[in-house]
Every structure is written in C-alpha cells, then in structure tokens.
C-alpha cells in the first residue's frame, strides 16, 4: 500500500523530518465492512503521491483515524506521526496521536502530546483534561494536578476535572477538599456513580458513616458527560457487525428496544451469518411482543448454530408466550440436554411442564433447579407447592422446612411453612404455636392480605376463632377496597369456617388466587 510514499522525504516535511514507513496491516480479521472502510483510506493515500503537504497529511491522518477506530494502535501512531511530520501544527492529528498513545498505555508520551495539543488550542479544555488523565496514568499525579487545576480555573463547572482532581487529593489524604470538590460535582450531576462512590468513601474515612452508606451503595459505572467531539467522531467510525451489535446490546440494556432492533438488523445486514445478531434480534422482538417474527429470527440462528443452548432457551420462551406448550417443552428439553447445568432452562421447562399437565416431570425439573441454585426461592416454593398439591405431606413438610431454613427471609416460603403448620390436613404436621410464631414473623416483615390470611389461619388453629374471624374480615375489606374482587370467594371461604368455629384444613381455598403458582 502507498508504496510511493513509504520512506520518502518530502519537501513539505517540517525540520527535515522524513515520513516513516507504515506497517503492513493484515485486515483479514476485520469485519467485511471494516475492511472496505480501511482499505478505502489506504487507497486514498496510495493515490496521493503528488500532493502537497496539507492534503497529504489529511490522508495520513484519515488513515490513522481508521486504524485507531479498529484498535490497530501501532499503525495509527505511525500514520499520525507522518501527518504531523507534514503539518506539525495540525491540532487534530496531534490530539488523536495523543489519544492513540493513551489507549496504548504509553501514558507519558500521550501526556506530552496532549500538552503540545493544548499549546495549539489553549481554550480547548478537554485537552487539558486528557493531559491530566495521561499524567496521572503515567504515575505523575503532581503534573496531572496542575492540568486539572488550570482547567477548573477556566471552566469551574467541569465535573470530570473535579472528579479527577479529587482522586489525587484523596490519595494525598486531603479529605475536606476531596469532599468539597465531589459535592460540587454531585450538584452538577447527581446520578454519576463515579462521584457518589468516592464521595461515600471519603465521608467514611472521616467517620461519617451515615452520609457514606447511601453514597457507597450508589456504586456503578455511570460517568459524568465529557464533551469531546473529535474523539467521539473517531469512535463513531468503527463499523461492522461487531460494533453495531455492541451498540444494539447497549440499547437493549437501556430498554430502547426500537433502537436495539434497528442495530441488530443492521448487524445482520453487515453479516447475515452472525448468529448472535439473529439471536439478539429475536430476543428484542420477544420483548416487543412480536412473537412470530422473534420465532423466525431465532430459528434462523438455530439453522446457523444448532447447538447453542441460549437459542433453544430463547425459543422455548417464545413458544411459551405463544401458548405453544409442547413446542416450548421440546425447545427447553433440548436446552437442558445441551447444558444440564442451565438452571434457567430447567426452571422454564418445569413451568412449561406444569402448564402441559406433566407434574411429575415438572417436579423433577424444579428439583434440579434447587440443586443447581440452592437459594432459588421460587424453585423451592414450587417444589413445596407441588408436594402439597399432591398431598405428599411428609415430603412437603421436609422440603418447606429445609427451604425456609436455606432462604430464611423469603416471605412466601415463611408463609407456606406457616400455613402448613396451621392447616395441614395431617395432624402430625400441624403445630399451632409454631404457626403463630411464623405468621407473626411474616406479618412483621410484610403486612399484606396474604400475611393477614396466614395469621388468621394460625389464630384459628390455636382456637382463637374470634380474632381469626376479625382478621379475615379485615383482609376481605382491604381486598375489596383495593379492587380485588377476585379474592372475595377465597377470603369468604375461610371467613365462613372461622365464623363456624372451625379451623382451616386446606392451605389455600379452592381456586385461590393467593396460591403461588407458575406465572
């Protein structure tokens, strides 16, 4: 490539500098569109032998941008250096060279390059910011500090500079100033975790735990906005399926499903054989409730890669939502066959089997989930429920007790155990005082209709029918006030028992909407 220029000494070069040969870059690992894009910039440079310094520098610079966008940092550095040999005062190439060096962790060289760029454009605050970042990364915090302080003098509301400076001050032990800066930054951008967490740690170091706690809890990876148009433009150069796919994933995670769909479709256009793009599009369409389109995309992905577990798992979810029970079961069985340790697939398979009227198989699948994820309260709850529904009381008791021990704070497990102790038809399983204690614990943690019904059941079991009746009546009143007429029949069912001085001998009323179940 560009053979006419490699190693040539041009009259346009500053201070007698020569152009360095550019490395031969193997583009074959790049995505097809990226290859075309970079090859275009290479060709443009190859055709530029007769040009004068400025446009030639622009072609080197453009090639540098392409290389940098695809993380070919060594080649990008050479291209930028040639651009600067031709036009030493070109801010853009100097600035991007500095970024290239910073990305390659050549931080001291990056910092020096940012400093030269800052001299070229003294009013460009972001250059000082990156200079500070590079000096800090090079292990020279005192140099970094000077840049951040200079930047804050010009732009007192530069939140990113405040955060960066505060990090140095915190390391120096200057906690009051650290806090002052971070509080100021927080006023500008209250949601940035990169402010909240270090602020919390600074308060904690001063012993102010109450202030520290919520700030430390607000951890994450949310950064303050940094205005850096040249660098953003460069990053937007990178195309190809992988890059678009990544963007789509980010949109999906943020909940912007329409943008995610567009990105995934673009990725497929770039690379029709990209299994992940088809899969992700299928998942996004499922979320958008466009189930037939989702099925089509996931089937395309399966045709490309038949043994990818996640595809069968996703297809199973689509079929479940479409009401195609047997197809859901088949897909999920395939998923667990491919990956016997996939707890999510076992769980969804169990749900599909329940809906398909295969309780024994469902029970085995839920039990497998519990083996894989001992703290999966939902699976434990459903294992217990299935034993209760089958009237296997001893087994139900064993499982519910073990589950309430393993996941002690899960209200629905506590509720199930309390009801078992209060209303189990087998006398040996009931224990009124234990039911009372559990119901009280439940009520203390969550005061709702479920808890009230459970406590009423326990009260009836210890013979306190009047209190049971009053509590059950109150639950009924609340249900109706909360527009839950669907609960009226089941609440009345138990209320009538207590009025007649009878304890409950069923854990839930017939067709009780409060009974836990498969969603």
């Amino acid at each position: 490539m560009a053979s006419g220029l490699i190693g040539a000494s041009l009259s346009g070069c500053a201070k007698g500098e020569t152009l360095a040969p550019l490395p031969v870059v193997d583009l074959s690992p790049l995505a097809p569109k990226a290859q075309t894009q970079v090859a275009g910039a290479q060709a443009a440079l190859a055709q530029a032998t007769a040009e004068s310094a400025v446009p030639l520098a622009a072609r080197f610079g453009e090639l540098g941008r392409q290389y940098q966008a695809y993380q070919l940092l060594g080649a990008a550095e050479r291209a930028y250096r040639n651009a600067l040999a031709l036009t030493p005062d070109a801010f853009e190439w100097r600035y991007l060279l500095a970024h290239t060096l910073h990305e390659g962790n050549q931080n001291e060289a990056a910092a020096e390059s940012f400093d030269i760029a800052a001299e070229l454009r003294p009013r460009e605050g972001v250059v000082l910011f990156w200079s500070g970042q590079s000096w800090a990364a090079a292990g020279k915090p005192e140099e970094a500090k000077k840049r951040y302080e200079a930047l804050l003098k010009d732009e007192p509301d530069h939140a990113a500079a405040m955060i960066a400076l505060s990090r140095i001050l915190q390391q120096e032990g200057d906690l009051p100033r650290t806090i002052e800066l971070l509080e100021k930054a927080r006023a500008l951008d209250p949601n940035a975790s990169e402010i909240n967490y270090p602020l919390g740690m600074a308060y904690r170091a001063l012993g102010q735990e109450e202030k520290a706690k919520p700030l430390v809890a607000a951890r994450g990876d949310t950064k303050v906005k940094l205005v850096d148009p040249i660098y953003v433009d460069l990053k937007s150069l990178a195309e190809g399926a992988a890059v678009v796919l990544q963007e789509g994933t980010e949109f999906f995670e943020k909940g912007d499903l329409a943008a995610a769909e567009r990105a995934f479709r673009q990725a497929i256009a770039e690379d029709p054989a990209n299994v992940t793009a088809h899969e992700n599009l299928g998942v996004a369409l499922t979320r958008l409730d466009r189930l037939e389109e989702a099925e089509t995309e996931i089937q395309k992905a399966i045709a490309l890669e038949p043994n990818r577990v996640s595809l069968h798992f996703s297809l199973g979810s689509v079929y479940s939502r479409m009401g195609k029970g047997q197809q859901a079961i088949d897909s999920l069985r395939r998923a667990v066959q491919l990956d016997p340790a996939h707890a999510g697939a076992h769980f969804n398979l169990a749900n599909a089997l329940v809906r398909g009227g295969q309780p024994d198989d469902a029970l085995a699948a839920y039990q497998r989930v519990v083996e894989l994820q001992p703290n999966n309260a939902d699976a434990r709850l459903l294992v217990g429920l299935m034993q209760i529904q089958a009237g296997r009381w001893a087994e139900a008791e064993r499982i519910v007790v073990a589950s309430a021990t393993a996941v002690p704070d899960h209200p629905r497990l506590v509720e199930m155990l309390a009801r078992l102790r209060a209303a189990c038809p087998e006398d040996a399983r009931r224990d009124g005082p234990a039911a009372m204690a559990l119901a009280k614990r439940l009520m203390d943690s969550k005061s709702d209709i479920n808890s009230a019904v459970t406590q009423a059941m326990a009260l009836a079991e210890v013979g306190r029918f009047a209190e049971a009746e009053a509590l059950q009546a109150e639950a009924l009143r609340v249900a109706l006030a909360e527009s839950r007429p669907d609960l009226e029949a089941s609440l009345t069912y138990f209320l009538d028992l207590y009025k007649a001085g009878k304890p409950a001998r069923e854990l839930w009323a017939p067709d009780d909407p409060l009974m836990p179940g498969v969603q």
Partner: protein
C-alpha cells in the same frame, strides 16, 4: 491505619533508616534476579491448551500451579495443572510429547541427593487427572498428616487424597465434594473451627461447549468472550463431616445468595474476630468478602468494607489475589491483579476492618495499566523485610496486546503475549517496578503467563517462583540474590499437626521491627504456594514470634536459644498464650 498501627510503622521506619541496602551487597546482585532453570532441573512440563481455533472460553482462562511438600520430606515438590480435549475432537497442540495429558507431579530430590533437581513421579504417584485443568487447593482434609489436593476443572473436579506413601487416590465421588460446574479457585479452611478443613470453591460462568458463542474484538475480529457473555454461577462451600466426606452448606450458610464469576480465593481472618473469612476475586463484578458469623453463616461485607470495587466505584476484572501485611503495619492488605487498562488494585487495611483503594499512592497503578495480571506473589525476594510483588501477566483479548504497546501482527497466541513484572517494595507502603532486564528473562520475554506459586525450592533462605504459561513450558525461577545475613524460616503447625494455613505470624526483632506474614497455601491465581514463612531480617535478629492461629489462639514464642538461617517449626499450644 489505626493509631497503634501507625506508631508501629513509625517505629519500624525509624529502624529502617539504619539498615544498609543488603540486596545490593549480596552475591548475584549484578546478574538477573531470577533465572528460569526448569530444563536444567528436570522440569519438562509443557501446558497444552488443546486449542480448537474456535476460541473456546476455557482455553484462555486457566490455569494454576502448585508448590507443596506432598511427601513430607521438607522440600517443595511441584504440581502442574494440564489441559485436555474436554470432549472435543481437538488434537494436542504440543507435538512430540507422547506422555498422557494429565496433571503432573514432580518430586524435589533435594533432601535425598543434596542437590536441587526434580523427577516426574506422576505415574508412580497414581495421578491420572485428565479433566481440563484450572486450579488447585491444598490442605490435609483428612487429618492424617499429609497434604491432599483439590483440583478444579472445566468439568468435574477431583479430590486427590494423599495416601502417605507417595501415591494419591481420587476420592471425589465418595467425598461428596463434587462440583461439575466450571470451577476456578478453591481454598481449604476450617470455617466452623471443628478441627476439620472445609472447602470453598469459586465457580465461574455457565459457558459450556454447547453454549459457546462468537465474541468479537472492536476490530470485528473473532475474539475470546469475557465473563459477561455468560450467566455466572454461585460459589460453593462444603463442610467437612470428619469422616472423609463433605456436605454442601452453600445455601444454609448464605454463600449461594449471589452469583459472580469467581476466580482467586483466599481464606483469612480479615476482621480479626478469630474466625476465618473468605475473599473472592470476581471477574468483572464486585469482589466478595464473606465474613464468618462464628461458623453459622457468612455475610458478604465487601462493599461495606470498601474492598468490592475500585476507588471510583467501578467493578474490575479481578483475577489473582494476595492477602498479607504488604505495607508493614501489622494488618492485612488485599492486592488484586486486573485486566489491561484497569490497573491492579491495592486495598489498604486501616486496621479496623475497613479498606480503601491505595493503588496509585503505592506506585502500583500506572505500571500495571498495560497488563492483564493473573498470578501474583507477595515475597521478600531481596530479604530486606519488606514484601515485594511478582506478577504474572498475559492477555485474554486480542486488543490487550495493542494496549500493552505490542503490535498484534499475528493471529496466533502471540496476540495475547505480555511480560511479567517484579515490583520492589520501597517501604512505607510504596513499590517501584524493577527494570525487566534486571529481574531476568522471565520478566522480559512476553508470553501468556497465568498461575504463579512461591516458596524456597532450594531451601537457601530466599524465595523462588513457579510460573506457568498457556500452551507453553513451565518456568522454575530460581532466586539469584542469595539469602540475607539473617533470615528466619517458619513452619506453623496447628494442633492437628497440619500446616496452619491462614495463621498470621509477627516476627519481633531486636531493632523493634514487627514483620507480619500470613502463612497460606491459597492465593495467587488458582495456585498453591508454600505455607512456610520466609522472613528476611537484614542484619537484625529475632526476639520473638507472635502467632495468631486460625482457630483464634494467640501465642508468643520467645526466640532465645532458637536457631536462625534455617526453618523452625512452631507448634500451636506450645507458646505463651497472649490475650
């Protein structure tokens, strides 16, 4: 740092001012500090990753190595973890080696012959470990006086019971310690203080060959996936029943409440309440600090303690881990190795159970940015009494090579090559990188380094290193410094006659220094190191050794009449009890 710690540190600093720089005076100071003598010593282990060309995740994620005295003769033997086809139609990557692909055990012949040399005794020892190997944990779980080995695999794990006659038997099925999910780190600890070693296993992610998917570098090229590409597994805690079997107490004790991609594990009493806690380095997510609630439950207090995230509140890709008194103030720092661009992290212990990210102030930040760190060892290579750090580096993504300043010209394994680092402690909680050329070839030549173990292989009073490489030969790095004028080797033995892994020993010297070290098999990256302590004293002399035993007992052993410049055994219960 609390007031008492600060006073201790000031006192020790005052003394340091009078100590000559002994490292520079000793023999070998002009040559490389470490020399790889694997071939000359008879260590011909060559790791085989069984590369498929499909970028299967486990090919790049492993693996550890071990230094342990399996035959109890007083010198350190070597255990290497090996790859396998793992059910794929993949031929071995290393041609010419016709031996079965299994973990390999090399016996140290030093005690028998008086000369450091190793002999491959894998077959004689009955070891046939053909899983796709990841890591090791060591401990005498059956209290029979010899060290047993737990091997984590991509696939079912193994428990190799030491038969005490130079052979091992895999008892995983009968033991109930089976784990079929992808496991990485593991550590033995007696969490309930019943005298039997329990086992913590860190699990990684739900990648399987059938769930394999293509991941891409920013360039669009196919690359290895990261942990975020697959759901994480929860870790597992197994209680030793005292009859050779284990019970799964993961759910009961709260360990199953979270699921993060776990790698390095250390067990130590972080909050100094006399009960061993557990720290887990997680890949790309918050780290875990499981605080032991007197053997009845564990609660994760990493976030509250300030040891979950970096200083800006960001989770990092934690790989290897060391827990030890790194800044010399008597409490326990945590050092973690990380992905390229993240810097390694040093959590400074303030002496009251709280940590802060002190990486940059310690000089450990910028030098680590270009590298992806895995194995790590805290060792006093120059015998000056301050703990230095050796770090094994190697990339996991193609882009890391570019970031490390190398050109990714190849599409082969060279894309992941990085060089190792040796960080010399300057005292006062600061380190500087030793120039790679000074440290030796093992620190200049890039490769895909992973596990690292440390111990005194030649019993000469200075620490040596073992480093393993993906698809490459193992390195046995012999320290060329020579021992300092005064040194102390300590073997801490508990009431069950086992190495007291997790014990803290503080050597009190005539000059008033207090040198604290943690005895441990665990730590680094999926590796096992010598739990014996090697304490360089310069020209100072020991007055006493104070030991905080894992079961909570605190004892003092006065040194009058005891030897130095050799290894000394301290038995729990034979010292003077301290409050």
């Amino acid at each position: 740092m609390n007031r008492r710690s600060r006073l201790r540190m000031m006192a020790s600093l005052a003394m340091i001012g009078f100590s000559p720089n002994l490292a520079a005076c000793r023999a070998g100071a002009s040559g490389p500090l470490f020399v790889d003598q694997a071939a000359a010593l008879g260590v011909d282990f060559h790791h085989d990753a069984f590369l498929s060309g499909d970028y299967h995740f486990m090919e790049i994620a492993g693996f550890g190595c071990g230094m342990l005295d399996y035959d109890g003769d007083g010198d350190l033997d070597l255990w290497f973890v090996q790859g396998s086809a793992a059910g794929r139609s993949v031929a071995p990557s290393i041609p010419g080696d016709t031996r079965p692909k299994t973990d390999r055990l090399y016996k140290n012949l030093l005690k028998e012959s008086g000369k450091l040399a190793f002999e491959d005794v894998t077959e004689a020892a009955g070891i046939r470990e053909d899983g796709y190997g990841m890591g090791l944990a060591a401990g005498d779980y059956d209290n029979d006086g010899d060290v047993d080995v737990y091997v984590t695999n991509f696939g079912p794990n193994a428990l190799w019971r030491n038969n005490g006659d130079g052979t091992f038997t895999d008892v995983i099925e009968a033991s109930g310690a089976q784990e079929e999910r992808w496991s990485m780190g593991a550590a033995f600890l007696d969490y309930d203080r019943d005298g039997w070693l329990d086992l913590y296993v860190s699990n990684y992610v739900s990648f399987t060959l059938s769930s394999h998917k293509a991941c891409y570098a920013p360039s669009g090229a196919v690359d290895y996936c990261g942990p975020a590409s697959y759901p994480a597994y929860s870790d597992r805690l197994l209680r030793n029943n005292g009859d050779g079997s284990f019970s799964d107490v993961t759910g009961e004790l709260g360990i199953g409440e979270v699921a993060f991609p776990g790698l390095g594990v250390v067990a130590a009493d972080f909050n100094r309440d006399g009960w061993p806690d557990i720290y887990v380095a997680n890949d790309g997510t918050e780290n875990l600090l499981w605080i032991n609630q007197e053997g009845k439950r564990f609660t994760n207090q990493a976030l509250a303690a300030g040891a979950a995230l970096d200083g800006s509140g960001k989770p990092e890709a934690s790989m290897g881990v060391v827990a030890d008194d790194l800044d010399g103030d008597g409490d326990m720092e945590i050092f973690l190795t990380h992905l390229t661009g993240e810097s390694n992290t040093l959590y400074i212990d303030d002496g009251a159970g709280l940590y802060h990210d002190g990486t940059n102030a310690a000089g450990l930040g910028s030098s680590s940015l270009p590298f992806t760190g895995f194995g790590v060892a805290a060792l006093d290579y120059d015998g000056d009494g301050w703990q230095d750090l050796a770090i094994a580096n190697g990339g996991v993504r193609t882009v890391d090579t570019a970031a490390a300043g190398q050109t990714a010209a190849s599409t082969g394994l060279e894309q992941f090559w990085q060089r190792n680092q040796l960080m010399r402690a300057l005292g006062q909680g600061r380190w500087e990188e030793i120039p790679a050329e000074t440290a030796g070839d093992a620190f200049t030549k890039p490769d895909i380094h992973r596990g690292m173990a440390h111990g005194d292989l030649d019993l000469d009073g200075d620490p040596d290193l073992l480093v393993v490489r993906v698809n490459g030969p193992a390195m046995v790095l012999i320290n060329q410094q020579g021992a300092p004028a005064r040194w102390l080797g300590l073997r801490l033995v508990d009431t069950k006659d086992r190495d007291a892994s997790g014990a803290l020993a503080t050597v009190v010297t005539e000059e008033g220094r207090r040198l604290t070290r943690r005895a441990a098999f665990d730590g680094s990256y999926l590796s096992v190191s010598d739990p014996r302590l090697l304490v360089g004293l310069g020209e100072d002399s020991p007055v006493a050794v104070e030991v905080q035993w894992p079961d909570g007992l605190h004892e003092r052993f006065t040194w009058a009449g005891r030897a130095t410049e050799t290894y000394v055994e301290l038995k729990e219960g034979s010292g003077e009890e301290l409050p």
